[in-house]
Amino acid sequence: MMKVSVNREKCQGHNRCYMICPQVYKVDADTYAYIEEEDVPEALRDQVRRGAEVCPEKAITLIE
């Protein structure tokens, strides 16, 4: 099972991950990303990976 996490220290609130996979990447009222459920559903793996790859702050970690 793929796991995803957002480093909240690194995240600057670009929302690029959210724009690609809002089902997994959430954004709070301060614009920063967070994860509600770290286990990534099989069907969303590709989208979650794409969301991580566009982060200009490299704030997202995937463990496969």
């Binding site: 600057q12 609130g13 670009h14 929302n15 690029r16 959210y18 724009m19 690609i20 954004v27 709070d28 009222a29 301060d30 614009t31 794409r50 790859e53 566009v54 982060c55 200009p56 702050e57």
Partner: protein, 429 residues
Amino acid sequence: MTSDVVDPAKEEAVYKAAAVASEFNLMAADFPEREFEMYRILRQHMPIARQTDGGGVLGNGTGRGWFFSRYEDVVFAFEHPEIFSSATGLPFIPQAVDPPDHTEYRKIMNPWFAQAVLTPLEPLLKELANDLLDKMLEKGEFDFVKEFSEPFPTIIFCKLMGFPLEDVPQMMRWKDLFIHGMRAGKAKELGIATDEAGRLDPAAWREVMTKTTQEVYAYFSKMIEERRRNPGDDLVTKLVQAKYAGERPLRDDELLQTLHLFMLGGLDTVTSSLGLIMVFLATHPEKRKEFIELMDDSSRVATAVEELVRFTAIVSPGRTVTRDFNYRGLQLRKGDFVILSTPSACRDERVFQNPDEVIFDRHPNPHVAFVVGPHRCLGMQLARRELRIALQEIHRRMPDYALKPGEKAGVYGGGVKGVDYLPLVVAKG
């Protein structure tokens, strides 16, 4: 043995890089024509190049500066504000403030530009775009900058701020003076003294800046007073009610500096970005057709807008080195100024394949057009929405257009690039 072999082609390339670096000037009139070729040469041979400061107009007047052109180096500098400081002495909050104060200001302001706040604005943005399009299409032939890319973000800004819409032209003139007064061609038009060769007189420019700042501050002070008496549902009201670090209200100087920055950031950047995107789409009909085909797919259009933003990145922010610092063998000195080119970083072939091509479904596209690190663009979510809605409505209403025959778009370089003239002709449908 092989290390002694001299490759004549490489030798020439190094001389060419030296030539580019020696005359490199973001403000030069011919800069836009050669811009991306020069960036490419610098990225390859002189990724950190000496830069003069344009008589103190760019930089901090010390004359010792550097131009960063590679993605990796630009990102490093943006992410290390303790070495590359934004404290330029300019009166802009939060842009010209470093962490930790910067962090406190952004805590106040970030929520005003969050997704949940901006989504409900979309119908308004759409309506405003269509009002402008109605007028343009009646004409059939127009300057896109005057008719759309300047007024569109300005009207939105005034609406968000709660400023009367009759002040839109005044707002545009003020931001022109601040941002474009230093450009030789524009300075003359704005009534700023230039020498016989049309070059800007820095002293005259600073005088105009001072006078304009006074006018703008007087206007903002009036608005602040009004909102203190009659709170509304606008950003000025939010500012006067804000608490710094949850403790004290913002002082008047903080309110003025923030509003001043909002004005410059909100008005000019979308104008520039939208203008440059439209120059590209007007001159690349096959790409325009491709965009029109995907623009109603919400996921594809979001990716496409990011690509257009990457391709037309506009800002090359300045930073000041806070202490002697050895960066990859290069000795930076305290007080040196540094220019971080997002237009070049966004075309870095080390990060982006075929960087000079617009690929609407490009992936990955970790562009830095909105800057990275603590100073990433506060209004980026608003900017994205403005750009997407403008592009969707424009292409829905006028899918077929071209540059007016025999004319050229007025693209200019500088710390904030843009286009001040874009004559378009719409095909009769």
